[in-house]
């Protein structure tokens, strides 16, 4: 779903400074906004602060100054466990499922914050969306393949019907075929109206599904624009995204 400029802002940050140590901020004043229904990819070289940026929004890394808002609500100081209640779901890059729990328990756990009468219906909805998971609900999640684990992590995040879904490198460690499946699923989820912020190293695949891209370099936003434009910009691609352009034929 391509979001138009008249859509309200779903999530924004203003001058966000964040990092594990107050004296060593990794994110150094990021102004960022994503509109409702957009799929925005956050790109940048290694060490640019992409993961720290989204972890700070999710409440997992301390924010030292600046602000983060979800719609009209300031979520800067909201603890991580309450952000999901505000409609912000986060899928970490690694260890994003409970490996010792069954698939069903992973989903029920996430459904806990919903009203009781809604929980099993939502679990059923997610099984319909991810039939691979529905086939073996009592299987221990640690026994799933990499792609299935990502699907479970996404399903777990979606169970509360979040307004914004943030994913930190969902393609990490997956084969190209599985990456294509995961990204196709993300595009389909975005088409239902869920705003998605995607941190990615897999530039080509991410730009192919994104509406817009933001490039972080050394903790600040260096470039942003429509994904298609950035993908075609050889200077941006070579300087910031590590995508080497083909040399012209002699």
């Amino acid at each position: 779903m391509m979001a138009s400029l008249d859509q309200p802002v779903a999530l924004s940050t203003r001058g966000l400074v964040a990092g594990y140590e107050r004296d060593l901020p990794i994110v150094r004043g990021v102004d960022f906004a994503v509109r409702t229904g957009e799929l925005v990819v956050v790109l940048g070289p290694n060490g640019a602060g992409k993961s720290t940026f989204v972890k700070a929004i999710a409440g997992l890394v301390p924010i030292h100054s600046g602000a983060a808002s979800l719609g009209a609500n300031d979520i800067t100081t909201v603890p991580a466990h309450q952000k999901i209640r505000h409609g912000l779901a986060f899928v970490p890059q690694t260890e994003n499922i409970f490996a010792t729990l069954s698939i069903n328990d992973n989903l029920l756990l996430a459904a806990n914050i919903l009203p009781k009468e809604k929980r099993s219906r939502r679990v059923g909805d997610l099984y319909a969306m991810f039939p691979d998971l529905a086939a073996r609900p009592s299987l221990r999640a640690g026994q799933l393949s990499g792609g299935q684990r990502q699907m479970l992590a996404v399903a777990r995040a979606l169970i509360v019907e979040p307004s914004v879904l943030i994913l930190d490198e969902p393609s990490a460690g997956l084969s190209p075929k599985i990456v294509a499946e995961v990204f196709a699923k993300l595009k389909a989820i975005n088409a239902t109206g869920v705003t998605i912020i995607l941190v990615e190293q897999n530039v080509k695949a991410a730009l192919a599904i994104a509406d817009r891209a933001v490039i972080l370099v050394e903790g600040v936003v260096r470039h942003e624009g429509p994904a298609a434009t950035l993908a075609d910009d050889p200077v941006v691609a070579e300087l910031y995204l590590g995508v080497r352009q083909k040399a012209p034929a002699a």
């Binding site: 991580a80 466990h81 999901i84 260890e95 409970f98 010792t100 729990l101 756990l109 996430a110 777990r156």
Partner: protein, 303 residues
Amino acid sequence: MNPQALMDGLITGAMIGLGAIGVTLTYSILRFANFAHGEFLSWGAYFALAVASALGAMSSALLAPIGPFSFGWALPIAAVVAVVLTGGLALLVDALLFGRLRDRKSTVIIMVMASFGAALTLRSLLEFIATSKPAYYTQALQIALPLGGGLRATPDQLLSLAVSAVLVVAVHQLLTRTAIGRSMRAVSENPQLAGVVGIEVRHVIRVVWLLGAALACVAGISAGLLVQIRPQMGLDLLLPLFAAAILGGIGSVPGAMLAGLIVGLAEAFAVQLIGAEWRAAIAFAILVLVLLLRPQGLFGRPE
């Protein structure tokens, strides 16, 4: 060899198992070995003694033995109150000590040392209040009933076994079938991810303290009923509790109970085979052997 060692071992093992469940839960969720856990057994036993004595003073009818047992209604009522009080004591220790250290992101060794300090403080305070003189819930003598196969047990001992069995099943069901149980298992595996999915980790930690202390209290009352009540009783059971928690596999409730029974039986048979003076060494030997041969325990998963 006297077959009665089997019954003695099962009875002691059930007490150890109950206490070990608390150790294994706090270890798996708070990620440190709480050496103050044994003190919750002692305090629980004394809370029950104080409340039962007060109830008995108010109404002597509450002291009249119930059926075949040696105690009156004062003790079961006192046990319920003691469970609540012991849970409150555990929450107080957490609020005053462990919670503050967690907020400062203290290392595991600091938490362990703090638990040693808490154990000493709690034990000394209890000794100051109650003196080191042994106390008893009841002075009534019970005749052991023949159970067949050369085994005998008193009604109190059989009740203690039954209560332990019911509690193990109840805690296992709580962990595997309820929302709070799933939350506890999630926090045990990955506290940060648990926060991301909306679990309030502090709430889960409070529940773990309450549950662990409640089970320790029941184990303490059971030990007090079957043996005697002393301020040192928790300290004496500490090594067997840790041996059982580690043998069972950290985080496993059925494992802790099964391992508690194994430790209890090993102690009882050791008394018969090599002498009572070796009883205390058995738990230590089991602990060392498990750490060397199967550090993940019977039901734990390798790191």
